[in-house]
């Protein structure tokens, strides 16, 4: 199980099937929210994730593929592109140095 402290999160990947639609929408929203904490947010097709991003956010339907692609990263799954509680959880952990795990 992967784990990370909020203060260590500097780079978040939003992964989507093609990295063209909803992930771009979400990335623009999250970039704004997380910028004040010095966190960069980038979107990518799930198959293009490389290395060990701090956190990978992905739709629940793609979470297994994201975990295969980045087994050492914390993978957080959401079901709603607008207002999923996991986005608040991520921001809260970064702000309060809480622990995120997947």
């Amino acid at each position: 199980m992967a784990e990370i402290k909020g203060s260590e999160v500097k780079h978040v990947i939003v992964a989507c099937e093609a990295g063209m639609g909803s992930s771009v929408l979400l990335t623009t929203q999250l970039s704004k929210r997380l910028k004040p904490y010095g966190v960069t947010v980038e979107h990518l097709a799930v198959n293009r994730i490389e290395g060990r991003p701090d956190v990978v956010l992905t739709h629940a339907g793609l979470a297994d593929r994201a975990r295969q692609q980045a087994p050492e990263s914390v993978v957080l799954a959401f079901t709603m592109f607008l207002g999923d509680p996991v986005f608040d959880r991520l921001e809260e952990a970064i702000k309060e140095d809480g622990t995120l795990s997947s």
Binding site: C16, E17, A18, G19, M20, G21, S22, V24, L25, L26, T27, T28, Q29, A45, N47, R48, H59, G61, L62, M80, F81, L82, G83
Partner: protein, 149 residues
């Protein structure tokens, strides 16, 4: 400011579609008509939709092709389709689609504007119900050319 990705010829309001497949077929046809994609890209849009619904909330969906199908994009462009009566989208109701053909990240600005619009109830409803293409451009692509008035 780069060239507008969404232009008047890519905006279709007051449409009807019997189901999601038909809505995506219509979206793909517009992208083909405006010279943005080859027909094979439309197949990939159906394929992508089968893997994961492109519904994003607020009665909006963002249909697009797969990563591999980017080779069938002739030029990056967007289309806006409005279905005032709604289309069943795997149990969700969709009233507006933004069809995407993007070679890379050219459409980030429009997506950022869309994200802002979707968090504003009144503006989101305007996109779902307006009969004026200029309203769509004002909210999503303010740099695009307007109709002569």
């Amino acid at each position: 400011m780069g060239e507008a990705l969404l232009s008047r010829d890519g905006i279709r309001l007051g449409l009807t579609a019997g189901d999601r497949t038909e809505a995506i077929r219509q979206a793909g046809e517009i992208l083909v008509d405006i010279g943005a994609v080859e027909a094979a890209y439309v197949d990939a849009m159906h394929e992508r939709e089968a893997v994961l619904s492109s519904f994003v909330g607020e009665a909006f969906a963002l249909p697009h092709g797969t990563d591999a199908s980017r080779v069938h994009i002739l030029r990056s462009a967007l289309a806006f389709l409005q279905f005032p009566d709604g289309v069943d989208w795997e149990g969700e109701k969709v009233r507006a689609c933004i069809a995407i053909a993007a070679r890379s990240d050219e459409h980030t600005d429009v997506m950022a504007r869309l994200a802002t619009v979707l968090l504003d109830g009144e503006k989101a409803e305007l996109l779902r119900s307006t009969d004026r293409p200029d309203d769509v451009l004002d909210l999503l692509e303010p740099s695009a050319e307007r109709s002569p008035s």
